[in-house]
Amino acid sequence: MLGLNRRDFAMLLLVAALALFAPFILNPFPTASGLSQFNAGYPDLMQRFVIFGIFAIGFNILFGLTGYLSFGHAAFLGVGSYSAVWMFKLLSMNVLPALVLSVVIAGLFALLIGYVSLRRSGIYFSILTLAFAQMSFNLAYSVLTPITNGETGLQLALDDPRILDAANTAGSVPVTSLFGLEMRSAVTLDLAGWSFTFSVGYYLCALIMLVAFYISVRLFRSPFGMMLRAIKTNQQRVNYTGLNSRPYTLAAFVISGMYAGLAGGLLACMDPLAGADRMQWTASGEVVLMTILGGAGTLIGPVLGAGFIKYFENIFSKINDSILHQWFSFLPDWMENLLVNIFYPFVGKGWHLTLGILFMLVVIFLPGGLVQGGQKIARKLGFGKKSNSDTPAE
């Protein structure tokens, strides 16, 4: 259906179901229980899951298909955010023009950087993109302060023109909306101790993520995707057969840049602020981690990886020592303190450490990422597909 074969369509349905029921899936623990610390089903984090999912899907189109490792993708994310916020400031609080502009600008920017960087491949390409991204970061951080507001970040103000919107009399900055449907409006469903929040912003992001995912599936299965894979396998051979590979890689780079721009624009739609640190090299590194952690070259891997990293960043970083003390309070004092001292370095501000260890474990034992882990489990349980159990799921 929808031009997909059965397996891909099943995967699309799976992603759709996950996205649709995320508020339930991510809130497995009752609100009052001690384990509610691990609930991730609140709008802001769910939005981040799908937005960084889009970012990683786009990155995977470049890295997973062509093998070109871009270390500067955060630049497009940042450009997308700045374009969106400027749209909110100048034109209207409607998210549609903002998203369109962020995709277009990021695409143009990617065309420019890609045109130069793709003259080289391998490590040189990575370094070039990294250099461009750092240049953009520094420009946004200090040189272009009038446009980007530097370190403080670009924000909305009461006296912005917003020429398409009615005059603002409310005394507070208007909120982003889609034709009047406010992004931040949400409804809460209380069911016997559980509390589930459904927010408009999240479902818009999820819908866009589904479309992005669908497009990426079609790309993977298209002749164009096959060309990109050929380039990854042996670019020289492609060249010797008389094909010019550069238009293909450039197209992949621009598409992937547009995905990043879309993600950046969405970030700004959900929370109208654009900061320069979105463009820093650490942010570029993060999307590489997401893709590898989830499984580079697989369809669903980047989404999983994005969710995994954002979960750690937002949930583990908030566990402090007093929460640990609560958990172990049933134990004798000395044992409680001992356990807290053992666990404390791995939570709170030490969440990077836990993530690092997990990343190491995944790379060593599951080179195919989380997707490979899922396949292994499935095979153990007897769901394995006999015919193609060795090819990674795509």
Binding site: G3, L45, K318
Partner: protein, 453 residues
């Protein structure tokens, strides 16, 4: 390979499923709360969002200690600290409005984005009614805007930029800490007295909202007394080595270096400057001097003996009551309970965060509601005393506290590792007060209080 055949039945099926899925959340109605995160149980949750990594991590750690202490005191544990000296007597150790105080913490990473994500999770997931903290003005401005949109109160921690209560002020945001304008106003007379009225200034400035406004304020105040500014160089917040910025100072003809740096930045730039021998230089027949407008004990500790003789300003100092008398009552009570719990005296960041938590709790009690609009009403124009800074006013026009400013100097021979600065002078509040429409604070609008929901 692709096959793009859309069948009519397939399309109908898919769209029906899709529409049903999309429409599902609309069946539920939103809860009828009067305001965001109205506490309904026997507890109330506050969110403490501080930098636990990055250049301001030391300040963040100290802020967190103060928050924990404040929550203990509000819940009636510990010795009560400033509860007994605070001029408003609504806090009796039974929590806030009879509800036990709980708190959640987060890491701002000194980045606006991460700080907002962390604050969002406190509001959306943990149900925090008040967010406090932040050791960077960039972060404070960003989180303050978020709190305004979400409909919770923001009690700013350590943020010194004029913009926090100037261009970027918000109705739901309040600042107890002093600001760059006050620093400059307090420092200028002392500098004139110490170094004369004919000086040439070269300044290095952290490149973000705080650095900009502080440089602007210092420039205006020192030029008013006859100094001239030769050059101002912006440095990135993430920089750790400042030698390339210090070298040009030597031949610039300047005889004063102003470091508009804070935290780790200041420790590094001051160390670089001293290593380049700036302190021992003679320029224009005068001793070369270094000024650090915003000072803290934590930075003095980091900079070691390089800090000796360097002048700056502080919001508060733990020796204030001992040296300057009972006007600053509360100081000793706070230092006592902080020292008893942690084993060393609190920094000014800790004091402002502790005071902010108490002020919020008291405002809720006085207004008899957690509703942000009631809190705003209770805090606007509130005059109080006994929180260590002397008589203080929360001004209605911009939600800024007006109180005395402490001018300090690094001790030449510190007796112990906690007593690194000496108090030169305490500038009374009326000397640092400015009109709400001062050009350095113009361009913003408080807007209306937002209770959310």
């Amino acid at each position: 390979m692709s096959n793009s055949r859309f069948t009519r039945r397939g399309l109908l099926k898919t769209s029906a499923v899709g529409t049903a899925g999309l429409a599902m959340p609309m069946f539920f109605t939103s809860q009828a709360n009067a305001f965001t995160n109205e506490p309904t149980g026997s507890t109330v949750t506050l969110g403490f969002n501080v930098p636990q990594s990055g250049p301001y991590a030391d300040e963040g750690a100290d802020e967190l200690r103060a928050f924990q202490l404040a929550v203990e005191h509000l819940n009636g544990e510990g010795d009560g600290g400033m509860l007994s000296t605070f001029s408003s007597k609504t806090l009796d150790g039974t929590g806030i409005l009879g509800k036990k105080v709980q708190f959640v913490t987060g890491d701002t990473q000194t980045k606006s984005d991460a700080a907002r994500a962390s604050a969002q999770s406190m509001i959306q997931k943990d149900g925090a009614v008040m967010i406090s903290g932040g050791s960077s003005s960039g972060v404070a401005v960003a989180v303050q805007a978020l709190c305004q949109e979400a409909g919770v109160i923001f009690m700013a921690g350590l943020t010194h930029s004029n913009d926090t209560t100037g261009k970027d002020k918000k109705a739901n945001g309040f600042r107890h800490f002093f600001n760059a304008y006050m620093s400059a106003a307090a420092l200028a007379p002392v500098l004139a007295q110490l170094y004369g009225t004919d000086r040439k200034v070269y300044s290095l400035t952290a490149d973000y909202t705080w650095g900009w406004t502080q440089q602007e304020s210092i420039k205006a105040a020192t030029e008013a007394m006859g100094w001239t500014t030769i050059n101002d160089v912006r440095t990135p917040l993430a920089a750790t080595d400042f030698s390339s910025y210090i070298a040009p100072v030597l031949n610039s003809g300047a005889d004063v270096l102003v470091l508009n740096h804070y935290g780790g930045n200041m420790v590094n730039s001051l160390t670089n400057a001293v290593q380049f021998g700036l302190r021992d230089k003679q320029v224009n027949g005068k001793n070369f001097e270094i000024v650090v407008p915003l000072y803290s004990e934590l930075m003095a500790k980091g900079a070691g003996k390089n800090i000796a003789g360097i002048v700056g300003s502080q919001n508060w100092d733990w020796k204030l009551e001992n040296e300057k008398g009972a006007r600053y009552t509360g100081t000793n009570a706070f230092v006592q309970s902080f020292g008893a719990k942690y084993g060393f005296p609190p920094s000014q960041a800790a004091q402002t965060c502790y005071a902010q938590t108490l002020l919020y709790a008291d405002a809720v009690n006085r207004g008899k509601s957690f509703n942000p609009c009631s809190v705003v009403e209770a805090l606007e124009g509130f005059e109080f005393d006994g929180l260590g800074n002397g008589p203080t006013l929360y001004r209605k026009d911009d939600h800024q506290c007006f109180k005395d400013v402490v001018v300090v100097r690094g001790k030449e021979n510190p007796e112990n590792e906690f007593d690194l600065v000496e108090i030169v002078e305490v500038t009374p509040a009326d000397k640092v007060t400015y009109a709400p429409d001062n050009p350095m604070f113009a361009g913003g609008d408080l807007g209306a209080c937002n209770p959310g929901a």
